[in-house]
Subunit: 718 residues, 2 copies
């Protein structure tokens, strides 16, 4: 890619971004779209225009995002979102501080070097360009100028250490503040116990659990809720809910037909067979009504059977104070670690019930099996990506698909295509994976949704770095370098180091595309908007259906964080080699901060709260990027035959020490709740009845607040 196509790519991206931003300003003012641009506010019963009414400035949202505080974010979107912004701020800080030193120092040093670029050091076919002159590749081998780059490597590392340390402390405080809040949070009074051994003869699991915990916590044990196998009851419940929805829909259609001039109305009909498409034609309202009446007693009966006979080897234990629950979740209860495993309870709605009864060793084995599958996935995908990045050059395309030639040879189309083709392929490719990884993470037997999301996020990160960053970099010179790797697999780092400068412009474009188009689409919400209006017009009949159509979802950490991380890895690895990438990184994170601040305050609704548990994952992966960067630099300096290269080794050692110290100091508080935090006073005495009921899954909760029927598996009043 030459300098021209790079500028074109940048320009078109920017124009696209501007268009999308003005589209957003225009669309978000139309009241019919409020549910799409302010759903978080609407769901919290707030005025969508709050604070905005005064100004009609199209950039008002930017001002609003900038003046919003961390407390606003926590109030509107929880601690996890606030932690995500700490991440953005920290990376932004790292990049700005790095840029302030690296740009004014390294660019002149590189530009004034004699220059040693070889033909194969650039992505395009042998044509040097102005960007390459500003990179470390332009400095001759063994030059004393390389000292400036060594110092820069140290500077970036130290800036990262300092800011990460501050951020870890800050997040720790955020988590503590949220956990010590005087509001009653149901999950703080419960623990999950798994691997309950088979109950002795003549005892139900519930009785066993109750007597076990009452003996240990005579004063603080409240009740237990044994986990049941809900497959059957869930099926009936879903069937019932389905008919209820259909009934509401049929009634809405009937009401509509009445309103549409026909005072009698047309009673909607349905067929009793498969999907309402075959079978006898009946009156829909009557039919659904009848079905519902039929299913309710069936559900109640099934609930009874489930609670009595389908008790599993897991339970939720409730305590009447937070300190006991916090201490219990951290303590060994049985002499064998693989029985009566206790851990802290997540929020009720994010408990993965089906995973709870999974056995200790089953969980371990599943984990290893899934790590192996992920490993295969990562390395299996490497081959197609290598091919794609090699195939999607225009010249190759023309060779493979000759009929494209007349189109492609036009100058403008050629430039645009040349700029976008490889990156687009990459981005589409990456969209396929997250669901699969989340599915795998849940299959590990993890107890909570948030934990599964974190696990998926981690897997996706390793996938991105290995496949996109390393894969593309090496794949770029893959056909020349393939034999070398085969001969000696250890040559990955030096090979990566040598290949890096060649891919610099590719990644510059990639980052630019990501931030302009990505954040443009994010802000304007064009796709959800179109889908919503289509659904509303042609599908939705009831209030509930409309509401479902605009439900905004959450921030999607499982894909968002790995994507941000990939950018960070790219930018940090190139920061010294091609410092020009730093401003792009700054724009990515700065723009991301503003756009997402808007989205978090107004659009996304968090689907769970893990009190910042995502942070250690983020932190560790930032450090992984930093260490990859340091190793790459070590390899690159060697490739430059710089004899003082070993001065970089202490840096890598330092990184590992830093990881160790942070882990020692901070990590355990993110695994469990510190007792000091849990011991803070509550605003009011918790209503244990409410706490308890919040954990009953919807399919098992009865319509009436009649409790007796839950006596079997759920409860035992002390």
């Amino acid at each position: 890619m030459d300098f021209n196509s790079f500028l074109t790519s940048l320009g078109t991206s920017f124009v696209l971004f501007l268009v999308l931003m003005f589209l957003f300003t225009w669309l978000s003012r139309r009241p019919g779209n409020h549910v799409l641009y302010y759903p978080n506010r609407i769901l919290r019963g707030m005025d969508p225009y709050e604070g905005l009414r005064a100004s009609r400035n199209p950039f008002a949202w930017i001002r609003e995002a900038l003046v919003s505080t961390e407390a606003d974010v926590i109030r509107m979107s929880g601690v996890d979102s606030a932690v995500y912004f700490v991440f953005l701020t920290t990376v932004l800080g790292i990049l700005v501080l790095s840029g302030l030193v690296l740009l004014p120092v390294l660019l002149p040093v590189a530009a004034t070097a004699r220059g040693v670029m070889k033909a194969n050091d650039t992505t395009s076919e042998g044509s040097f360009n102005d960007l390459d002159k500003l990179s470390m590749g332009h400095v001759e081998q063994r030059s004393a100028r390389l000292w400036a780059f060594v110092i820069a490597t140290y500077w970036v590392s130290f800036v990262t250490y300092c800011l990460l340390w501050k951020a870890y402390k800050h997040v720790s405080d955020l988590r503590a503040a949220a956990l010590m809040s005087p509001d009653v949070k149901n999950e703080q009074f419960a623990v999950v116990v798994r691997d309950i051994p088979p109950a002795p003869e003549g005892q139900t699991i519930k009785e066993q659990v109750d007597s076990y915990f009452k003996a240990i916590y005579p004063d603080t044990f409240y009740r237990s809720m044994v986990v049941t196998d809900n497959k059957q009851v869930n099926k009936i419940y879903e069937e019932l809910e389905g008919y209820r929805k259909k009934l509401t829909r049929a009634e809405a259609i009937y009401a509509e037909s009445k309103a549409a001039g026909n005072p009698e109305g047309t009673r909607p009909t349905t067929k009793t067979g498969f999907l309402g498409l075959i079978g006898k034609k009946v009156d829909a309202i009557e039919y659904y009504d009848e079905k519902i009446k039929e299913l309710i007693p069936k559900l109640v009966a099934e609930q009874r059977v489930t609670l009595k006979d389908r008790q599993q080897s897991a339970a939720i234990i409730f305590f009447n104070n937070r300190v006991t629950a916090a201490a219990a979740s951290q303590s060994l209860h049985d002499t064998m670690v693989d029985t009566w495993t206790v851990s802290d309870a997540p929020e009720p709605h994010q408990l993965l019930w089906a995973n709870l009864p999974k056995n200790f060793y089953t969980r371990r084995i599943r984990q290893y099996v899934i790590y192996f599958i992920v490993f295969l996935t990562i390395f299996f995908y490497m081959i197609p990506i290598g091919f794609i990045s090699a195939l999607t050059t225009l010249d190759n395309l023309k060779k493979l698909l000759p009929f494209l030639k007349p189109v492609v040879d036009q100058a403008t189309i050629k430039t645009v295509l040349e700029a976008y083709l490889p990156q687009l392929a990459l981005i589409i490719f990456l969209a396929l994976l997250p669901k699969f990884l989340l599915f795998l993470s849940k299959a590990e037997g993890i107890a909570s949704e948030s934990h599964a999301q974190r696990a998926a996020s981690g897997k996706y990160f390793y996938f991105s770095v290995l496949n996109v960053f390393i894969g593309v970099t090496i794949g770029n010179t893959l056909f020349t370098a393939l034999k070398r790797i085969e001969k000696d697999p250890n040559s990955l780092v030096p090979l990566l180091a040598e290949s890096l400068p060649g891919s610099a412009t590719f990644f510059l474009t990639f980052v630019a595309l990501k931030f302009f188009v990505g954040y443009g689409l994010e802000l304007s919400r064009i796709v959800p908007l179109i889908i919503f209006h289509l659904k509303k017009k042609y599908l939705c009949k009831t209030e509930a259906e409309v509401k479902e159509a605009w439900a905004p979802g959450d921030l999607g950490y499982a894909t968002r964080i790995p994507a941000d991380m990939l950018i960070l890895t790219i930018v940090i690895c190139y920061s010294v080699i091609a410092p020009l990438i730093i401003p792009f990184g700054i724009i990515y994170y700065g723009l991301g901060w503003i756009v997402l601040r808007n989205q978090v305050l107004k659009v996304y609704v968090p689907s769970y709260e893990s009190y910042g548990r995502i942070w250690p994952h983020i932190y560790l992966r930032i450090m992984a990027s930093l260490i990859l960067y340091q190793a790459t630099m070590l390899g690159y300096f060697s490739a430059k035959e710089f004899i003082y290269t070993p001065v970089l080794i202490p840096l890598i050692v330092l990184s590992f020490i830093f990881v160790l110290v942070c882990r020692n100091k901070f990590y355990r508080f993110f695994q469990c709740t510190a007792l000091e935090v849990a011991s803070r006073e509550l605003k009011e005495t918790p209503n244990m009845q409410v706490v308890f009921r919040s954990f009953i899954p919807p399919s098992l909760s009865s319509e009436k607040a009649d409790e007796d029927q839950f006596e079997d598996a759920l409860s035992h009043v002390v």
Copy 2:
């Protein structure tokens, strides 16, 4: 060494053992020696002859050892001793079961092989011997007979897994039974808290600690005892105790002189200067009396100052029930892991007070520094051992010290010297190290004596295995193999595998010497007996001094276990290569079991109780030996050019899985107390006052039970 000198060595060792055993039978019957042969019984106020009076059989002690139960051991010597016997029994089981299969199968297979021994495969100068014919070295390369040895390797491993699994379960039960005992054990009501942050302005550390824990445990917190810097007060206390001892001694001398005919008696005198050797001559009793009177108020004043002004950043917290203490010791208290670090309290008398205030990071750094020192020690000692084992062959000695030639050339002397020389050098050499390792372990900042002993034991094990086993084996062919290691350090395992058969007879002799002479000396207690009688005759004047002279000490795990482990490592590594070593191992562990059963029941007094915490250390080191054995076998089969050698690789993988599973299932209960165990009912309500006072160090406890003066640092009545 040829077969003759081996038999001589064995024979003389056996005779020595018989002599020592009869010496024991004879000496232990003389009432004057009872304090040496039955101290544990005497200190527990039991009749030394209990159960023995009926029989006058000289082997009665063997019968008594054999019929004693595990419960007897626990009653007389605690859980730790019982765990030590589980270790002996388990290893004995492993060796017996291995021997039952390996001896009848492998010996004929090896003996009937064609034979391929080369000159350098034996320790002696090219002369083959009968022992070597019975070893795997005698089987030709690539022979199908090697399959028998492969199966044997698997058999030994599986026997080890099974017995270790059973043993781990059994020890876990022993620990649980001891911890759930209905007797009040003071340490179960306390936790140690370290890394207390600096107290806020206007608060003492004690006030800070009290308010912190009272907030978290409003109902169960009893009192706190802040750790003080006791250097000054200890000095005065020791001075005072010294004068008290001297006073008793002077009074005893005076009484003796009166009894010896002189009705007036001679009042002993002393000098006031250095060590009572120079200075003014004074009446001793008056002088000491005066000194004591002088020191008592000084001590009281110093106690006050210490408790008030020398409070350190650590404390002991007391709870009024066991469950809270157990849960507290496992829970994170502060959001920062490096402050308010809580761990369970060891027995009061084994707390290492001076280590408690050491800072979190100081402890970590000390640990790493000490690991490095130990690493250096292990590898620094390797050189001298290599030299010793190369120098102390008779031929070398004759060359180096020609004047010895006439003595050494006599046939009997030559045989004896040849048998003992290398082994004796080794045994003396090993006696130097344990104290140093214990000192290092304490310097790590460990909180309890038992933990320090465990740490020292672990270090000593690695030292023994690396230096004695590997060092001697390779050192044996060191001068031929030195260049090879230099070229390729990875060649250690194949080199070791090749060198093993050559050292087989050396180690056979080593094991035999260890069990016959070692256990003979252990049983007969000749050395302590002589020292005791000398001390009693010439030094001891008072009752207390006599008692001190016969104090038996404890089992000495820090050196005993590594020594046993070394034998196990040797025997297990040779079990398949030279199966003849197995009977020697069986005798070592069988004899050890009987002799030590006697010693534990009658002689040694445990100096602490860690409730079996030593077991995971023992277990892990048995597994380390097993893995070393498997790796060695892998190397040895390769050296035999056996093409199916890789069938041994799954075995090593299996060992690692076994370690992992055991760790997951059992280990945590050895780190902390399971709540279920701690929740068992007590025989009586604990007297918290007594529990509290048991932790006051002697130098700080006052004569009168007056408490008010402890208010400052120790106590705060709730």
